[in-house]
């Protein structure tokens, strides 16, 4: 509806700013906004027709009124207007989409309007106008009743009615065939001091005419004449109806002549009135004649008019004529909603057979199988209680006509939604007859309705119904829907028996078992399982049993139940048998627990596992591995060994050699005096995976001299897992002695620190940390998290020194930043001991050292709980002084809230001058949500109602989030009302969330849920752009334009402080500028801000590429990878440089995985980016080498070069980059092996590219002797002229390469015969001013009688001249360019 946009345009003009603020752009261009469709429909407005379907105009009129309102700039008006906007949008959407308004929607809009306090006149108008033919699903009388209710209610609330309202009411009366006294109506208006206008009179005439009261109509007509009001076509049309209804068809027809005499040509409305009149009499002949007459004239009847005639025929009891009219309908697309509404109306009027007739005539495309057009009809039939047999028949017909793919199923769904058991039963029987299965869950919607009301009788009825249909209730049915209705399961059984509800005893008792399990009644479970005689599968009980275990702390019962299920033939008979079943159960048990739960129950779980071990319960090894991974990710690796004891050894993979096999093999080799290093390592690793520490250690002691690094690493890890600090430390020392430069992986270091710390070997732990730093062990997020766990564990154990010293070491070594999280154990230490003064002291100390206040909230809460007034004062003074009074007030506010001191909290938040701090409020909200503190969050929302600048919608959004967690739709619904009371316009995301909660609980959603057109709208400032905003933005863009990054960034900061948000474009330009100026920290700051304030904010290709390069340079590889992902997700093409840099950086870190990730990410884009496959091959190999996986790297390269299906032609398989990095990095072992590989490829496979590349790189890095040796071993290198020449040509482009070229020539003298080569050589010598070498070259060439080209001679001549020497030949006279060009041309002609 274009009218809606008018106020927005007006505002745009007023603001006249080149850059629109977000809110306005949304308003102007946002989808979901009405378009012109409604206006179109209203193209022909007929105020009197008494028409069924000419209503849509109302909204545009209402919106015009609103437009007028908006121009008054007071804030209350604005609020009213936006409230109106909201209502209008919802109603309008509905009308636009469907041509009607559902009653519930109108009711909700009405309720909200009432709640908003003083509804404006335009809102009243909107509501009243909606009560006519826009409600086809309501009976006529109900619609009028609704209109009256709205009228009275709004009047009570102080709405002032004007003539437009009275006219609207009249219109509703006409549309609803409401019988009333026009004179009384006029009297009422008079009493209200409202002057009737022309429209009023017209409508009153129509009212009289509808009753067939020509006399009454004439009286009003008289009034109009005395007032000199013009008599319009509408009046004449009404008179046609009037005469006809008074039984005087002749005069009705005569009206047309009268009209013409009065100078008014009868239009479609008049003819329609006449047609309706004939139809009401069942006079099909006249209808047809008239229609023909109209067709011949230049008038045109629309589908909508024809539908009206159909309605008249049907209502008057002549359905037999409907088909004849239907034939004439053209079914223009835009009238489909009108047709649907007629169908609905007919169903409402109990004329459903005619409705079906019309439906079947609808030319809806029937090809696509997804077409279920008839749904609306079926649903309404169910609502209107159409007899079941009829519905069955309709379903059949719709199916035949291909208007519905599964009409019976759909109707059944409607019946279930409407809780109509009897209808549902009939439909299910019909489905069954057609061979469809009737599934148990079909009955759940019926049960859930009764369950909510605890309606036992209702439940029994449904269960009986199930029996009747032949469906046996399953366990879910009992556990979820039946049992909750009763006080005890015993009484369920009794009631079912009493009512003759048959039930399967087996199913029932298992359901009972599950129900008890869920409630944690393990005693019952055990005794049931012991006495039970019916076998059933363990897995059916698994889910409930897990819940039960977690609710019970009785480990003995845990074990006994598990044992029984494991050993008793009744429960684990099915394959794969008890080992699998119990193993899987244990896995699920742990998986279902959170990591904190597992940590808290560590001891109990250990006890449980050991009891299982004693009971000889076993689990398969593969499931054990799953559990091991889980425990690792939960940070409780200490439990792994306790699970390991359960592993079924006999059945471990028979394909692999067992440890004893390996051991005998080892002994044999030893006896034969052969090297045993490899096999020893294998054996140790195997023992480690079997958690056999003792044996592994013995083995190590026995063959100490043959131990390799890998074996030690596995052993160290094993000892750590077994909490064996002593051996772990010793092994680490031996490991260092073996190879002091060897590096463990991060996880092993961290585990060592943990174990050593735990056993009081503080200094050793710190030494490990130092080593981590020295060896530059990568510290990832997970590592920092592990540090936290180590510290936190120690804090919980109360080990003051451990916490302090390790924290100190981690922070001073720079392994991790002293973040709030990492430092919180320093405070936890004292909180756990209830030593509040020390806790506070520690927090303050952290502030002084690191400018953070860890756990200040928890400290304050405890202080408040203990009533430590002095300490509270101290804390508050400190916070106040360091972070300002406002922060202090918030700290105190949250602490009071948390501890339930709401009165005090209220006092704090009402402190004059306090204002909303969105981040802090959000922090507390999130905290409440995470801890499920419903009351606390409710109080927060309540107390901040009057807080200055508080984003109420955001707070309510948080509250709804929490309600969603708890699935509490009643409270969510109440929030909805509260928001209305507070006059808050909810954001779309809030509405969506609310709708989700309601829908999840099968509640009707009382509003049109806004469609998701982009992710979530984070912030949509509702205020207008202030001049300040506009100026700032302008300034920023100017600064960007002039590349003044500092100025631009300062403007950004200023705006940020004032909470001003610019648009996407502005931020993008600022970020580009900052990145170009290499100011990535600031760029990131801007990016973060933009991302949190503009949902869907993205950088463009160039900016993302720049960002990647910057991130790589600063070694934020993870971030860079994320940036790359983001860019690719946006279908951007990052620059080749950016991607290559990132890959190379990953390779240097040995991060193979990331390179593989990148490869996957850019898969298919290589050509667009310009990325060669070799980039990946080189860097993956390099990464592997960095990880000491030299063999793997070499093997894969060799495979690529020797396999049948090569992806890269060997002659382009350039490994120069890899060789250079290996040489530069002095990775001697790798270089050695690579060299062997290159030679092997050359000698055995005749692939010479790698060996030549290696040779050249050796030369290039000055390792001439190595190069010479290689050349001697592999003479074919000298024959690889193309490769060698390319090397020459590349090298001579850069200065400083003369020595390299010289060495190359020395090694391969044949090169000099090539023109490209000697040209390059000369170029290099000239570059480096190497006169001697140049002379030597010239002489040797002339000695060979080589004919030198002019360019060569020119170069040489210039070099000699510059060196002050004479030129022994005539210098070519032209310029360099000339000869270069000449040379090029001559080469081209040779080709």
């Amino acid at each position: 509806m274009a009218a809606l946009l008018r106020p927005a345009r007006w505002l745009l003009r007023a603001a006249a700013a080149p850059y629109l603020p977000l809110s306005l752009r949304l308003l102007a261009g946002g989808p979901g906004r009405p378009d012109a469709a409604v206006c179109l429909r209203a193209a022909r407005a007929r105020p009197v027709a008494g028409g069924l379907l000419s209503q849509a105009r109302l909204h545009s009129i209402a919106a015009e009124k609103k437009n007028y309102l908006q121009e008054e700039p007071t804030s209350s008006h604005r609020r009213n207007a936006s409230q109106f906007d909201w209502a209008l949008m919802r109603l309008d959407n509905s009308v636009r989409r469907t041509g009607r308004i559902p009653k519930t929607l109108l009711q909700k809009v009405f309720d909200n309007t009432c709640h908003s306090g003083s509804p404006g006149g335009n809102q009243a108008l909107l509501l009243l106008r909606s009560c006519g033919s826009l409600l086809p699903e309501l009976k006529l009388s109900e619609r009028t009743e609704f209109a009256h209710k709205i009228w009275d209610e709004l009047q009570k609330l102080g709405t002032v009615y004007d003539v437009s309202h009275y006219n609207a009411l009249l219109k509703v009366y006409l549309q609803n065939d409401h019988k009333f006294s026009p004179t009384d109506f006029l009297a009422r208006m008079e009493k209200g001091n409202i002057q009737p206008n022309r429209v009023t009179y017209q409508r009153l005439i129509a009212a009289y005419c509808n009753m067939g009261d020509i006399e009454g109509a004439s009286t009003i007509l008289g009034f109009m004449k005395t007032k000199d009001l013009p008599v319009t076509e509408a009046v004449f049309s009404a008179l046609v109806t009037g005469h006809a209804r008074s039984g005087d068809m002749e005069n009705a027809e005569n009206i047309l002549t009268v009209m013409k005499e009065a100078g008014i040509e009868p239009g479609p409305d008049t003819y329609l009135a006449l047609l309706n009149a004939y139809a009401e009499k069942g006079d099909i002949d006249h209808v047809k004649q008239t229609l023909e007459k109209v067709e011949k004239s230049d008038l045109y009847l629309m589908d909508r008019d024809l539908l009206q005639i159909i309605l008249s025929f049907s209502k008057a009891g002549y359905p037999q004529y409907v088909p004849e009219i239907l034939e004439k309908i053209t079914y223009e697309r835009r009238y489909i909603p009108d047709t649907m509404n007629l169908i609905l109306l007919l169903v409402t009027e109990k004329l459903e057979d005619t409705a079906l007739q019309i439906l079947l005539a609808c030319p809806i495309s029937r090809e696509s199988s997804q077409n279920d057009f008839g749904s609306f009809f079926l649903r309404h039939c169910v609502t209107m209680n159409t007899p079941a047999e009829k519905l069955k028949d309709y379903c059949k017909k719709l199916k035949e006509a291909q208007l519905h793919t599964s009409p019976l199923q759909f109707t059944l769904q409607c019946a279930l939604v409407a809780q109509k058991l009897d209808l549902a039963k009939v439909l299910m029987k019909a489905l069954k007859e057609e061979g469809f299965p009737i599934r148990t869950h079909y009955f759940w919607p019926l049960l859930v309705g009764h369950q909510k009301e605890k309606n036992v009788q209702g439940i029994v009825e449904v269960l009986k119904g199930m029996h009747e249909i032949g469906v046996t209730p399953d366990q879910e049915t009992y556990v979820n829907y039946v049992f909750p209705c009763f006080d005890s399961i015993k009484s369920v059984r009794a009631v079912l028996q009493e009512n003759g509800c048959p039930h399967d005893d087996n199913v029932f008792s298992q359901a009972e078992l599950r129900s008890k399990a869920v409630n944690g009644n393990l005693d019952y479970i055990l005794s049931f399982l012991e006495s039970n005689t019916l076998p059933f599968s363990f897995s059916s009980l698994r889910g409930s049993l897990i819940l039960g275990f977690r609710r019970s702390m009785n480990i003995n019962l845990w074990s006994k139940i598990t044992e029984l299920l494991y050993k008793d033939g009744r429960y684990c008979q099915e394959p794969p048998g008890p080992t699998e079943a119990v193993g899987y159960f244990l896995y699920n048990l742990i998986d279902s627990m959170s990591d904190s739960e597992v940590q808290a129950k560590e001891e109990r779980l250990r006890q449980y596992f050991h009891q299982l071990k004693e009971m000889n319960v076993k689990i398969p090894e593969n499931i054990y591995r799953g559990i091991r991974n889980l425990l690792d990710s939960y940070h409780v690796p200490e439990l792994i060994k306790d699970v390991n004891i359960l592993v079924e050894r006999e059945k471990t993979d028979s394909r692999k050699p067992s440890s004893s096999d390996l051991e005998s093999k080892l002994e044999k080799l030893k006896a034969e005096n052969q090297p045993i290093g490899d096999i020893l390592k294998q054996l140790i690793v195997m023992l480690c995976s079997e958690e056999n520490m003792q044996k592994a250690l013995e083995l190590k002691a026995k063959y100490e001299s043959d131990m390799v690094v890998g074996g030690y690493a596995a052993l160290i890890n094993l000892c750590c897992r077994h909490d064996n600090a002593e051996d772990a430390l010793n092994l680490k020392r031996e490991f260092d002695r073996l190879d002091s430069s060897a590096v463990l992986d991060t996880g092993k270091y961290v585990r060592l620190v943990k174990v050593l710390g735990k056993h009081g070997k503080l200094q050793d732990a710190i030494n490990i940390l130092k080593e981590m730093k020295e060896k530059d062990v990568p510290v990832k997020d997970a590592t920092v998290l592990s540090f936290f766990h180590i510290l936190n564990g120690a804090a919980l154990r109360g080990e003051t020194e451990t916490v302090k010293q390790l924290h100190e070491a981690i922070v001073t070594l720079g392994l991790a930043k002293p973040s709030t999280a990492l430092s919180s154990p320093l405070v936890t230490l004292y909180l756990e001991k209830d030593d509040l003064p020390a806790a506070l002291e520690s927090t303050i100390d952290c502030y002084e050292k690191y400018k953070i206040l860890p756990r200040i909230h928890d400290v304050l809460c405890k202080l408040i709980e203990k009533g430590e007034t002095e300490l509270i004062q101290k804390a508050m003074d400190f916070v106040s002084q360091e972070q300002g009074e406002m922060t202090m007030l918030y700290d105190l506010f949250f602490a009071f809230l948390q501890t339930g001191n709401y009165k005090e909290a209220k006092k704090i938040i009402e402190t004059p001058g306090i204002r909303a701090r969105p981040t802090r409020l959000q922090w507390f909200c999130d905290r409440c949500i995470a801890n499920n503190q419903v009351e606390t969050l409710e109080k927060l929302v309540e107390l901040t109602q009057k807080l200055f600048e508080c984003d109420r919608d955001q707070l309510y959004y948080s509250l709804l989030k929490l309600y969603k967690v708890n699935d509490d739709w009643q409270k969510a619904d109440a929030v909805w009302n509260k928001m209305q009371e507070e006059n808050i316009i909810p954001r779309e995301k809030t509405l969506r969330l609310l709708a989700e909660i309601l829908r999840n609980n099968n509640q009707e959603v009382p509003f049109d849920v806004p469609e998701l057109w982009y992710e979530e709208e984070k912030d949509c400032p509702t205020s207008l752009p202030s001049p300040v905003e506009v100026n700032l933005q302008q300034g920023l863009l100017n600064a960007c334009h002039r590349r003044r990054n500092k100025d631009a960034f300062n403007i950004f900061l200023t705006a940020k402080k004032q909470n001003i948000v610019f648009d996407n474009e502005t931020y993008a330009r600022l970020i580009n500028l900052l990145l170009m100026k290499d100011n990535s920290t600031q760029a990131m700051q801007v990016k973060d801000f933009a991302e949190t304030h503009i949902k869907g904010f993205t950088l463009n290709d160039a900016a993302n590429s720049l960002l990647i390069i910057t991130q790589v340079r600063r070694d934020y590889l993870k971030d860079a990878l994320t940036t790359l992902k983001t860019a690719l997700d946006l279908d951007q093409i990052p620059s080749r440089l950016a991607v290559t840099r990132l890959i190379q950086a990953c390779a240097l870190k040995g991060d193979t995985e990331s390179i593989h990730d990148i490869q996957k990410l850019v898969n298919g884009l290589e050509d667009s980016i310009g990325l060669s496959r070799m980039v990946f091959i080189n860097n993956i190999a390099l990464a592997q080498i960095k990880n000491n996986n030299i063999d793997v790297a070499i093997e894969s390269i060799e495979n690529m070069l020797t396999s049948e299906n090569q992806t890269v032609d060997p002659q382009y398989f350039g490994l120069a980059y890899l060789f250079r990095k290996v040489i530069e990095g002095q990775l001697e072992p790798a270089l050695k092996k690579i060299s062997i590989m290159a030679e092997r490829l050359a000698n055995q496979f005749a692939v010479y590219k790698p060996v030549t590349d290696l040779f050249l790189q050796l030369v290039d890095s000055g390792k001439v002797n190595d190069a010479r040796a290689l050349l001697q071993r592999c003479g074919a290198i000298a024959e690889q002229m193309p490769i060698l020449l390319v090397f020459c040509i590349r090298n001579c482009q850069r200065p400083g390469k003369a020595p390299v070229m010289k060495s190359l020539l020395e090694l391969i003298p044949e090169l000099i015969d090539k023109e490209e080569a000697y040209t390059c050589l000369m170029k290099s010598y000239v570059f480096d001013n190497d006169v001697t070498s140049a002379k030597a070259l010239y002489e040797s060439l002339t000695a060979k009688n080589v004919k030198l080209n002019d360019l060569f001679l020119k170069r040489y001549a210039v070099l000699l001249k510059n060196a002050g020497e004479s030129v022994p030949f005539t210098e070519p006279p032209e310029s360099f360019e000339f000869y270069a060009k000449q040379l090029k041309e001559s080469k081209e002609t040779h080709l």
Binding site: W444, P445, I852, P854, W923, R999, N1001, N1002
Partner: protein, 108 residues
């Protein structure tokens, strides 16, 4: 008091690497057993959940025992149960939330 510590850990835990298919647009006539039956053709279905409160909401989760099986299921273009086409996609891992558990850092 260790609650805040636990929260850090929970926030950092992800469900990466679990082969789960997220299914939408399940017709109301189908429940978990129908889903399980359908998806069994792609591999071993470890767990199949379709949350119900009277009706289900058209959503369900299929836990396969390996990535490969999940991949098989995702490869298939059309999944049709009771004549209705399902929407099948891999379950996205929950986003990492970082280790900012407190607002103190943000609030300077």
């Amino acid at each position: 008091m260790a609650a805040s510590a636990a929260r850090v850990a929970v926030a950092l835990r992800t469900n990466i690497g679990r082969p789960v298919a997220f299914v939408r647009k399940i017709p109301w006539t189908a429940a978990s057993s129908e889903l399980r039956e359908h998806f069994a053709q792609f591999g071993h279905v470890r767990k199949c959940t379709v949350p119900f409160t009277g009706f289900h909401k058209g959503m369900g989760w299929i836990h396969f025992s390996s990535e490969e099986e999940l991949h098989n299921a995702l490869q298939q273009e059309n999944h049709i149960i009771d004549g209705v086409k399902l929407h099948v996609q891999p379950q996205k891992p929950k986003a990492l939330q970082g280790d900012q558990t407190s607002d103190e850092e943000k609030d300077f």
